[in-house]
């Protein structure tokens, strides 16, 4: 009777030591730590390609845009992060304003056109995503579709569209609206949105709801559709994408950024990683992989399945101008947050 438990304890202790050893081994590995708000599969593909080429290990911590940005600000100089990657630019601006980014070397910045990076050179765009209106083809014909994002404030759209207002993605779109049309129009539009739209948690969930016939359409980013089509197609079989074009706020192209933390103890490797992502092989991951985000480096090609970036007629918005604080104030006032 007394033998069984002690051998049980011994086995437990052994298991602990074994897995503890693998733990310690990982911690001891020199390499870089990436705070990643991008889709994990994309960053993992980047990190794996980079590690394979350079031998530098990459450890990824995942989280949301503003979650990780605020976390970095809290951690300050003690942050374990070397590199920060986001889905949208407002979170990059937040860390930049806190003075926590290192200025990137010229050769890193030179790879990407000026409209995908801030004038300060503190971070650089590595990918982009386009705003779209995903709609149920069984319910809406092309002639029913909104001409502009602003049309969705119209009473006839009441109860017919959805979005994910709590996500950083949608907040970046509102940021673009604010930058392009000003505070008054944005505030009114948000008020109408509160009355007209259904809130979902996450763009993919919103698309899934459109596909299931719960709601007619949703404002999301383009790649959720292509990603699902490439997998089972189960959540996108009944939907199509509508591009707003004409420089409309709804045609906003959001920049995903990457930057090196000033507190990093591995700056050289960290800069090498950012350079790699914005470089030829990093951009090729966007073309060949299943992320379906746009490649943006000079001369880089995107996935041929996508609507060409030149046809999107996106509005001109400087990525570092997006004011995340004002956006969250306006959205809270409208009762969306």
């Amino acid at each position: 009777m007394t033998l069984m438990p002690s051998s049980l304890m011994r086995a437990a202790a052994l298991a602990l030591i074994l897995s503890g050893a693998s733990h310690a081994a990982r911690a001891a590995d020199e390499g870089i730590t990436v705070y990643n708000a991008q889709h994990e599969s994309l960053t993992k593909a980047w990190a794996d390609g980079f590690t394979k080429e350079t031998g530098i290990k990459v450890t990824i911590r995942k989280g949301g845009d503003t979650e990780l940005a605020n976390q970095i600000v809290q951690e300050g100089a003690a942050s374990p992060a070397d590199v920060f990657i986001t889905e949208n630019s407002p979170a990059m601006v937040l860390v930049e304003k806190a003075g926590l980014f290192e200025t990137l070397p010229k050769d890193v910045l030179a790879q990407v056109p000026a409209n995908f990076q801030p004038a300060s050179g503190r971070w650089v765009g590595v990918a982009a995503r386009s705003t779209v209106f995903v709609y149920d083809t069984r319910k809406l014909r092309e002639s029913d579709l909104p001409k502009s994002l602003l049309d969705l404030a119209d009473a006839k759209w009441k109860g017919h569209w959805a979005a994910s207002p709590s996500g950083a993605d949608f907040q970046a779109i509102v940021g673009a609206l604010l930058e392009l049309k000003g505070e008054k129009i944005t505030a009114e539009w948000l008020k109408a949105m509160k009355a007209n739209s259904t809130a979902y948690r996450g763009n993919s969930v919103a698309m899934k709801a459109v596909n299931a016939g719960e709601v007619d359409g949703a404002v999301i980013y383009h790649y959720y559709y292509f990603g699902d089509q490439a997998k089972t197609g189960e959540n996108s079989s009944n939907v199509a994408l509508h591009y707003f074009r004409n420089g409309d706020p709804g045609a906003f192209l959001s920049t995903s950024g990457a930057g090196v933390l000033a507190s990093s103890k591995h700056k050289e490797q960290a800069e090498a990683f950012v350079k790699w992502m914005a470089g030829k092989r990093g951009q090729a991951v966007l073309r060949d992989g299943d992320s379906f985000e746009y490649a943006i480096a000079t001369g880089a090609e995107s996935n041929p399945k996508l609507e060409p970036i030149a046809h999107l007629q996106a509005p001109k918005v400087e990525p570092s101008k997006l004011d995340s604080k004002k956006v969250s104030e306006l959205m809270t006032a409208a009762g969306l947050l």
Partner: protein
Amino acid sequence: MSVQAQPLRAYAVIATQPLRLRRVRQLAAKSLFGLAALVSLVTLLPLGFILWITLQTGWETASALIFRPRVGELLVNTALLEVLTLPPCIVLAVALAWLTERSDVPGARLWSWLAVAPLAIPAFVQSYAWVGVAPGMHGLFAAVFVSVLAYLPFLYLPVAAQLRHLDPAMEDAAASLGLAPWRVFLRVVLPQLRIALCGGSLLIGLHLLAEYGLYAMIRFDTFTTAIVDQFQSSYNGPAANMLAGVLVLSCLGLLGLELLIRGDARYARVGSGAPRPASRRSLGRARGIAVLLPLTLSGLALGVPAYALGRWLIAGGSEIWQARELAAAFGETLFYAVGGALATTLAAIPMAWLSVRAPGRLQRVLEGCHYYVGALPGVVVALALVTITVRVALPLYQTVATVLLAYGLMFLPRALVGLRAGIAQVPVELERAAIALGRRPVGAILSVTMRLAAPGVAACMALVAMGVTTELTATLMLAPNGTRTLATEFWALTNELDYAAAAPYAALMIALSLPLTALLHAQSRRVAGQ
């Protein structure tokens, strides 16, 4: 066994050196008391944090963040969830327990296993299955429905154990005094189930408050989902902390309510001899209909998840079995489960020993600390530890130690309950004899008492390990960089709507929990003397 001879020799020694031994024993009690007090102090961290952060935020900001329409909305949502979920759980648990324990329903033993089995399915996997089968499911009633399926075993287990326990003599007396069978049930049996019903309901009520994954997946906003939302947009901002404060108050409110309803009536049986086992009531022609209840419940709580998982596993094919990633997540989960179980059990030993060997007023206060902290949702514990480590204990920030500390706090009551029962069954004389023979007091407790209490220790470690295996929020918020457990990976994949790729992680979590669930079921039967 050789141990039997030892007490005699030991008593001879005690007779010659009574004073020294008493002092040694007092020393043991004192040092354990110190340790238990230390653990209690740590359990006060989350509560202290909430108070500290409220003071720091200042009343004006705090009240602006607490008294706003959104919080009212969440309060209504959470209250409705509690009020609508608990009654059906109670009715179903009592009906199910009566059928499996007291009737001749066909396959009673099988149903009693199947009634406990949903415990092996993490709540967020249960809702993942339902969302997969019925994509449109969302909102309050969907939340209530899935909650009932996921948490029913928490009530079924204690109620069934209690029903097995009851002395049928009381029911016989009531019947012989002329009460109809169903009146006997209402007036004699049901009141005796009160403690089991209160305890089980409290457990479910606390889970409803703390659960994140289930409700996020089914799109129903509660305090916990709102806190995580806030955390994901502003890290540990004041809005998240204030919501956590309201959530803590709700939990403490539930604890108080249970204490009030439970009362302090006496339920122990008086008289000599042992109760005979209760006879099973014949259902007659209703047998066929009665079997529909356990059949339907098992079909919904086990069949649907099995179907959904099976469908995704087949749809995903061999591609989703990424052996390296799966093995890594499995190993990491095992590490945290074993580490968490060891740490939690070690932390609970001093209090468990004191509550059996040296109960007292102060001891009861400290024991209360051990219990209250288990009622706190993972998100609150994690929020407290994130802020404390990042601001004042940076070397502990994002370390395994902090994660284990969080698990320890959350699962302390689970460990304490099992340990206490185990220690109570070890004769104190053996421990004294070991001390008399020269063992150090703490050494005697560890090598004699704890060794004999081992079956109880193993059961409570299994319970803690099961909790850790399916823990999501605290792990997400506190884990070191690069940590991937089965639960966090499953969650990340479902967030990308990659339900097929998430299926193997869900299957592994269930595979890990299943033996632990079986152990739990066996344990509950043994306690009832069967």
